[in-house]
Symmetry: C2
Subunit: 350 residues, 2 copies
């Protein structure tokens, strides 16, 4: 993968460096607010903490759960809003805390979820992008942070402080110092370095799609990149571009899905730097043996200046997101398909 | 869906009624053995119980987890073997119990998993299909049940007795009596009633596949039918038939994937009778609005003689499995593709 910037193709389309910097640094500055909320929850006590969501926000919840899974003995869980509304969860009680994020602040399942949880007498800690939306109402939450975008960062900041309080994150101060000093610049650099590549990638993907409109594009990831593969395939390519995809975790890939990979199958493998990296590396060894149409995006190829080796894995999903943002903007251009158009979602009753 | 049996097409191909009856009843008869093992584990105590697997056995673990999730406050969890081997899980300690199932008894990830868990000093309760396989060795497990097939039944029997011991399943005796008297006959009847339909379904699916070899076939399910949709798509159609699929849970369907459903998209919706049924019913209301190539398999269409209303949901995945078995056998015939052939799995190193 060549990250050099060329003038071939559109140049940094839809990229506002200053706005990106402000957005990320603004999110990181929520830390004081998040810590205060967690301090109060901690003091009151809890028997479980649930990150829940639906669609893309569920994928973010999966990411924070896998981040904590090997690090924390806290009773932290992930659940899906639609499933919780039907199956319920005996581990969630009136002494539990729901943490969630919503962009619109009025997603059907999330409103019902909040009503159910409040009805149980449990606490709700909400991250909402849209000021004044239904879910920002006082009776819908106990703790509210209103700030646009950066959902994954908000969840990880919450997880980090929880683990710090639980004695599981002694490097907390140094971690935050690094992120607050270097993260925005690192991610901006990733976007800049991926721009020309993103254009080429989009061009090839659109060409393939035009020639094979029903052939699914495969996304493979693991660790915090499983949520990335899942939501990128479903919430970006399927929902926004109407291109078929299938996402699979790198470990599961070897137990069925690999059999339908042939020479022309379009595959994107995300390789990150968290503990599950070896699972993705195994896929990287396999692909060249059977496929000629795969692409690997490896977060290791990016410098991420100022971020210590040991912390790089915790932002792999943000790095991949920055690369994908460059692909998406050119997909939109080349498909001539505004990413905000929906065929069905919120278009009629079902 | 017409369940009447016709002589059109092959009749009950690969179906040995007596063998099926023996297989199911033999599995149900493992109950004494399972109860004895759980009694010992219970007496020794545990801080968590993990159902783990990889591929199809992970899907079965997902099914038993969602079954217990709304019913039991026991510290019962699901994890994926490949993920546990890399990320680990702080909720799994030396006082934990791993419960798993393996057909071959030598799957790479499962052998590594067992070695890791035994190395931690934790206990292992293994269901193995193949006598004399590596994982049946004495040092690889603390509790062993060797019996072929019926993995889901074995897991549910384990869950049922755990919940019974925890005071969460007062109907345990009646439940078992019903299953032991009626389950085998009910499932045999489902297979018989689905045979002609399965042949027609296979014929249409193979025709579609021949005309559109790269168009994915979609499987949608929820509750214990999410694991069914996941493993049926991946372990049967992809792995055994080399037909592309995507599986999605019914709740998630509305958050991205629905946008790529158009008139000719082949969709199979599984509707079961556990608590998540309303999520699948919502998909059933949506599909006719946008798609002309969908099929619904609803477990409610089957009598399941002798099984009480309240217990039907707990076997929805077995009912769907019986229907799918009828489809698969004719897929094999019409594709002229032995389901045991693999392109890559265990064919070379990767």
């Amino acid at each position: 993968m060549d990250h050099s910037i060329t003038k071939e193709g559109p140049y940094l389309r839809n990229f506002d460096e200053e706005k990106t910097r402000e957005s990320i640094n603004g999110a990181l500055a929520l830390r004081v607010q998040i810590e205060k909320i967690i301090d109060q929850i901690w003091q009151e006590g809890f028997d479980s903490i649930f990150f829940m969501g639906i669609g893309g926000t569920w994928a973010s919840a999966l990411q924070v759960e896998v981040y904590m899974r090997g690090r924390s003995s806290l009773p932290a869980y992930v659940d899906n809003a639609a499933e919780f509304l039907t199956t319920g969860n005996k581990k969630f009680t009136e002494n539990s805390v729901l943490i969630y994020s919503s962009v619109s602040g009025n997603t059907k399942e999330m409103v019902e979820l909040v009503d159910k949880v409040k009805g149980m007498g449990a606490r709700v800690f909400a991250f909402i992008d849209t000021p004044g939306s239904l879910l920002t109402n006082e009776e819908k939450q106990d703790h509210l942070v209103v700030y646009p975008m950066n959902e994954q960062l908000k969840f990880y900041m919450t997880a980090n402080y929880l683990m710090y309080k639980n004695g599981e994150f002694p490097e907390y101060e140094r971690y935050n110092q690094e992120m607050e000093t270097y993260l925005a610049e690192a991610l901006i650099t990733v976007e800049k370095q991926s721009d020309a590549w993103g254009y080429e990638r989009a061009k090839k993907s659109v060409e393939f799609f035009r020639a094979h409109p029903d052939y699914p594009h495969y996304f493979i990831g693991c660790g915090n990149l499983y949520g990335a593969a899942y939501s990128y395939g479903m919430c970006y390519w399927e929902e926004q571009m109407w291109i078929r995809t299938k996402s699979i975790s790198a470990g599961e890939f070897f137990h069925g899905m690999m059999e339908i990979i042939v020479a022309d199958t379009p595959v994107t493998l995300f390789i990150g730097e968290d503990e599950q990296r070896p699972l993705a590396e195994r896929v990287a060894r396999f692909l060249p043996k059977v496929c000629e149409n795969y692409v690997i995006i490896d977060t290791k190829d990016f410098e991420l200046k100022g971020i210590s080796e040991q912390f790089r894995g915790s932002i792999s999903h943000l790095v991949i997101r920055a690369v994908n943002a460059r692909v998406d903007t050119y997909m939109e251009l080349l498909l001539d398909h505004p990413l905000s158009t929906r065929r069905y979602y919120r278009q009629f009753e079902y």
